[in-house]
Symmetry: C2
Subunit: 238 residues, 2 copies
Amino acid sequence: MKRYKREDPVSYALGITLTFELLKFAPETARRVYIHSLMEHGESYDKLMSLCKDLKIETVFSDKPFNILSQKENCYVIGEFDKKFTPLDKNASHIVLNNPSNAGNLGTIMRSAAGFGITDLAIIRPAVDPYDPKTVRASMGAVFRLNVSEYDSFDSYVQNAGSREIYPFMLQASKKLKDTDFKKPFSLLFGNEATGLDDSFLNVGTSVIIPHSDRIDSLNLPIAASIALYEATKNTDF
Amino acid sequence: MKRYKREDPVSYALGITLTFELLKFAPETARRVYIHSLMEHGESYDKLMSLCKDLKIETVFSDKPFNILSQKENCYVIGEFDKKFTPLDKNASHIVLNNPSNAGNLGTIMRSAAGFGITDLAIIRPAVDPYDPKTVRASMGAVFRLNVSEYDSFDSYVQNAGSREIYPFMLQASKKLKDTDFKKPFSLLFGNEATGLDDSFLNVGTSVIIPHSDRIDSLNLPIAASIALYEATKNTDF
């Protein structure tokens, strides 16, 4: 066992809560569960053991993976899983991230997307790893409930996305979010944390701005994406 | 010079961008500016020097504070400032955080509040330090543009806040955010990251829920607060 690398076919859910999310929502991808000698025996432990038994998932009692994979204290369970990339649903609405660079931000956006019922996530490379254990942790397990797909370019995404209206979010846009009528299926498109979307995206679909005061330069990326997700889905009956 | 502690009267803006925010928006609190020997001489450097000269702020050329205060590479400027707590404006709308526990979250909420024109922030103790250098960094300098006030209890906040409508955000509420009409001046009230607001807040003002799917347990705190800030201020002309 080695430190996690992007090119590995597997990744890791660090902690018992994330491992339960894995076993519950993506059990077909779960390979094995590591258990630390300090893991307390009790209700959670019994639940974990019986779930692994039912799903026929190997349990490995060893402290070694924890030293390699987890810097955190109190992490006594690790779920190892196969990374899964799923073609997006052409009839569903998508969230599309062009060159996201921060694992925590990507995970937070996954959590908000799942929260607002958008289950298809497109990532345009170069981009941070959607299955980096840091992304997985920030997603609070939402990554196990999403269809995640990577593309080499925005054009390649468009060619595979099916017919839809695309809404690029950018400070150069003139249409305000509150005045935007989102036609389903839609794609909400966001740029990189530092650079946003360049002017060429003004020619794509309907570009949208979330107006803010001049007291800040920009909203934080997961904040902007989550506000857009909220507004675009606010008439859904959750 | 020692490592930052909460009880210190001063805190630090780590990095040149944050230091410019300090000098621009809270110059009266700036004590001195530390400059590292690796700081490049050029346009930014000249601008910093002339700003410090104009504002009569001491510049200290020493690498030592950087070893003590900054774990980050590429941090070559540190602004030292007096922490400032300002009584809130009784006629303005507020954002109120009950026992926030994470510095990054608090800073992100400050940035969103400034972005949506809410400049008064109340923090109910126990709470994370609003002037921790981590909070300051996550705020991207928004902390220098806000009135920040701490209270020992929610009651003490209410007694000092002036007449207003309070909107506690909680999963136990029945009024949906999209159906809520925010009467100014308002207070948007949020609970702790892990525990939220307890049922007793159902009796305070108009409690509000941001509905989400059952695919997640809850929205991340700065996401929920920012969505509320967006919705409550969406008719403002930024």
